[in-house]
Symmetry: C2
Subunit: 205 residues, 2 copies
């Protein structure tokens, strides 16, 4: 924000921030390189000093999203310790909280259409986030009798799917689709019922 002359100083991040804002406001389609560069106070051509092109910029935005996401998940996981159950539930809540708090990142990650393999850095960040969720699921699965225990990655996938579905259908204003309940409640109760189904919560809780 300080006075700048010919050189911007922090253009790369400024471009990412501009992209995030635009994506948040206008959707992944509404985002254009030209407008992002204009927002950052710079010529479109300047973008190419820092990125290979449009997709590369979006990939970087998504990557930063996955980093934040992984951190949030990790934090949520830790905050639930030593209870495997509390930790697991917390990661579910963190998913929704992330989508709410960082819509631009969320869209870049899940709705922009760019592949998670667009760049190696992006793929790594994505994997890191995924690992936290799987670890939480894996801890939890210890509490299920070994003979009727589904693979940890399976119910990590279940929870991820339900969280993602709630976000897509009811939280991010899926245009015109009214949410029957607050998304937070929907996810909370949904996960609750699911965990009861696994025998991890007492039926009368």
């Amino acid at each position: 924000m300080s006075k700048r002359g010919y050189h911007h100083g922090n253009l790369k991040q400024a471009l990412v921030d501009a992209a995030l804002k635009l994506i948040e406001d206008k959707g992944p389609t509404g985002f254009t390189l030209s407008e992002a560069s204009k927002t950052a106070g710079v010529t479109p051509a300047a973008v190419y000093r820092h990125f290979e092109g449009r997709n590369d910029l979006i990939a970087e935005a998504a990557r930063q999203g996955y980093e934040i996401f992984a951190e949030l998940m990790e934090f949520a996981y830790q905050s639930g310790q030593p209870s495997a159950l509390a930790a697991f539930e917390a990661t579910g809540r963190a998913y929704l909280a992330f989508a709410r708090k960082h819509p631009g990142h969320y869209i870049s990650m899940f709705e922009s259409g760019i592949s998670v393999n667009q760049t190696p850095e992006l793929a790594a960040a994505s994997k890191r986030a995924n690992d936290v969720l799987e670890k939480a699921a894996s801890d939890l699965s210890e509490h299920i009798p070994a003979d009727k225990r589904p693979p940890a990655s399976m119910f990590s996938a279940h929870i991820w799917a339900m969280s993602h579905g709630v976000v897509e259908l009811f939280a991010r204003n899926s245009p015109g689709r009214a949410s029957p309940f607050p998304p937070e409640d929907l996810l909370e109760t949904g996960i609750g019922i699911y965990l009861r189904g696994l025998g991890l919560i007492n039926p009368d809780d």
Copy 2:
């Protein structure tokens, strides 16, 4: 498909079909009016005889999708009768089957970014589909003791969310994200665990 002269005969539907194919192949962004009209063997301007513009065409594609969707759901629901449980489970499976079988429609409906209120016809079709799912949920809720019965629209929303999440994350090749399990299995087991959590399936089934 018959030989045609100056007049196409069934251009409106031909344009919708072309749009569906393009959307399926290239995503919602890849779809252009020009290409759709070319595919249908017609000048771009001809589109405006039948649609108000690009969005109107997509809305019609989505509307037809909701009609098919509602029919599939209705059929699945009926096929599970008289068991409320079987009917409910069938609708969940039908969701995934629909996404698999009609990707163009599915994308138009859920990923194209157009509002369900784009046209009244679209809104009506969407509501019709939703009603089937809620009816299935409502039937099912009869089997839960009244005092611990969640609102039917709530677990209809849960199942919808999980189905949608499974489709988005693991079925439609969310680029680069490997599915840990076949989506069908993922959804089947997920719904199973959920219903067990509601006390609707015997824990040892």
